[in-house]
Amino acid sequence: MADRSPRRGERRGMDTLIFRTMAPYLTALMMLFSVFVLLRGHNQPGGGFIGGLIAASALAILGIANGVSAVRRALWFDPIAIAAAGLAMAALAGLLSLFADVPFMTALWAFPHILGTEVALSTPLMFDIGVYLVVTGAITTIALALEEREDD
């Protein structure tokens, strides 16, 4: 009987054609949706934490379908470095209030007009993006480590 296990260097992941073909689209869609959930989070259900979870599950799906190395290539940065960047961003969002003579983490708002649309930018948004990155990075690190174990 022929050995059907993938050889070293070969594509790794769940070996079904439909899943493998659909996974990148699904991942792209979920990433987009995670950003949408993140941005609507200030006044409505959503936010950085849940957006990050959606993004992490998108990457986990890609990992299951196309293998961990494909995810790592697609991410460009090490997931734990993404989490660290989020932590730094959240801390800096709090520190911005130092320049406005208000206590740590006090919300600061700016409403610039970009392409004729008023865009509400704020330090809570920056903090939330930091949370998003921390959750995405940390959960992806865990998920990739668990998926990788089967390959080794």
Partner: protein, 520 residues
């Protein structure tokens, strides 16, 4: 506005706050700085050369910030900063009084010492697995715990320091380490879960988590609420964290397994957080309940002290012996908590500061001894005096200090506690303090006689040199201990007024609620 039921004046006060003086930022600076540097170090974790160049100056700056904060608190009294300008009791407040600032400074100094020692002790692999990021996150958790004025926030900082300490304790993933880490992790998680349960009960009773608010409301709620139960859950949770007698077996089972710097930092920093939380909750917030449990805490303290000292006497591994000495020190501090008078609390704070510095230094000395002697066992260690007289001199100083003998820093807090015990009429506690001091002296002398003085059976010994990363932090910490021992006056005055601030928290309350505590 009227529909929401909030009076307009209240809204106006919350919007018309005076600008925050720059010096008040020192309240929040240490934990934020640690988180920020920790994050940068994680991002740069492939750049091995950069790690130590970033970490050591950052730790130095942290110690400077901590010192600046202490100076600011001495000048102004307790300082409060409320996150996001949500006025207390709703916003999370960071409130620093003298007790918190003193502990925080000692933690910063210990972290700097440990960081410098880590340059030699932590090898490339362990650095690649993130020693410095974990160190920063843990120190951030410790200083956050010392500085926060919100009980749930205190729990969060407990978790931060605990999770980072899990990372530090398994660095290297040796078999023995995983065994120690499992015991450490499970028992500490049970402790923090108990703490969380207590916080939940407290929130149900008080409807607030702000420490100043709780302290102000406790007397009015006491007749109608199960305060004694609540107090007992807190005592149990913090005793577990502090490694008090019946729930301390995780400490000797785990502290000898990680690298020596990690063990030293744990011994110096982590158990003290438990003692600090016990002071904050049972002495400042619930003094009535703390008094009611003073016999219980006193009995636990004696058991902790004596089992610690006897355990130290029975060990052959110097690292395990030091672990038991940490426990004995916790018993000494708990004695002061149970006595509750001003001199006693002041002695506890003083002892905590001394213990942070001296326990770290002792672990570092043990690490050097282990490297020079090739073993941590007193059966094999010999002739260290001939190998390095400098190491021996510093170790002797530290052993005398931990035993509570003059002229080192351990003497004064112990003298204060013994005096407080006899003044209070608690002769049994005073006697126990003296007996445990004697036992610790014997244990330390035994270790010194066997490991340092005894000549090895083979006879000749070649002198060995200490590396700079070994002698610099060791000498600095020993000198700190000696300096405190020789000139204790300023620190005595500070700890006395710190104890005053805990026993009579009116200045603390005023700092959080300048317009008076709101009545429900």
């Amino acid at each position: 506005m009227a529909a929401s039921g909030i009076p307009l004046e209240a809204l106006q006060t919350s919007f018309a706050l005076a600008p925050v003086p720059a010096v008040h930022w020192l309240v929040i600076a240490p934990p934020v700085w640690c988180m920020l540097v920790g994050a940068i170090l994680i991002m740069a974790r492939k750049r091995m050369g950069l790690q130590s160049w970033l970490a050591i100056p950052a730790l130095g700056l942290l110690a400077l910030m901590d010192a600046g904060l202490l100076v600011a608190v001495i000048r102004e009294g307790p300082i409060t900063m409320v996150m996001g300008r949500w006025l207390p009791p709703f916003g999370i407040a960071f409130t620093v009084d003298l007790t918190g600032a003193l502990f925080n400074l000692a933690a910063g100094v210990a972290a700097l010492g440990g960081g410098v020692a880590a340059l030699g002790d932590i090898d490339r692999t362990r650095r690649a697995y993130g020693f410095f990021p974990f160190l920063f996150l843990m120190v951030g958790g410790v200083s956050g715990a010392f500085l926060t004025g919100d009980l749930f926030n205190l729990y969060v900082w407990f978790e931060v320091l605990l999770i980072s300490s899990f990372g530090l304790i398994v660095l290297g993933s040796e078999r023995e380490q995983l065994d120690g880490a499992t015991k450490y992790a499970i028992l500490n998680l049970i402790g923090t879960t108990l703490f969380l349960i207590a916080v939940g009960i407290l929130y149900a009773m008080f409807g607030t988590l702000n420490m100043a608010d709780i302290a102000a409301k406790a007397p009015t709620l006491a007749p109608s609420a199960p305060m004694m139960t609540l107090g007992l859950v807190f005592v149990a949770a913090f005793s577990m964290k502090a490694a008090a007698f019946p729930v301390n077996f995780w400490l000797p089972a785990s502290y000898h397994t990680p690298r020596i710097v990690v063990a030293g930092l744990f011994a110096g920093l982590l158990t003290k957080v438990g003692v600090y939380a016990l002071i904050r909750v049972m002495v400042m917030m619930f003094p009535e309940e703390g008094n009611a449990y003073s016999m219980l805490i006193g009995a636990v303290a004696i058991a902790t002290m004596l089992t610690g000292a006897l355990g130290a006497l029975a060990q052959a591994d110097i690292r395990r012996m030091l672990g038991y000495m940490v426990i004995s020190g916790i018993g000494i501090m708990l004695t002061g908590v149970s006595l509750g008078a001003q001199t006693a609390i002041s002695g506890v704070i003083f002892y905590g500061l001394h213990s942070m510095i001296v326990m770290l230094a002792l672990y570092l000395a043990a690490g050097v001894a282990g490297r020079m002697g090739g073993s941590f066992s007193l059966h094999d260690l010999a002739g260290l005096y001939a190998k390095s007289p400098l190491l021996s001199a510093m170790t002797l100083c530290l052993f005398l200090s931990v035993s509570g003998l003059p002229p080192f820093s351990g003497f004064w807090p112990k003298a204060m506690l013994v005096k407080a015990a006899f003044d209070f009429g608690a002769w049994w506690q005073g006697t126990a303090l003296l007996v445990s001091g004697l036992l610790t002296t014997i244990a330390a002398a035994r270790a010194f006689a066997l490991g340092w003085w005894r000549m090895p059976a083979t006879g000749a010994v070649d002198p060995m040199r200490m590396q700079a990363s070994e002698w610099v932090p060791l000498l600095a910490l020993t000198l700190v201990s000696l300096a405190i021992g020789l000139y204790p006056e300023p620190l005595l005055a500070l700890t006395l007024s710190a104890a005053n601030g805990v026993l009579d928290p009116s200045a603390y309350l005023h700092s959080v609620f300048p317009a008076g505590v709101p009545t429900p």
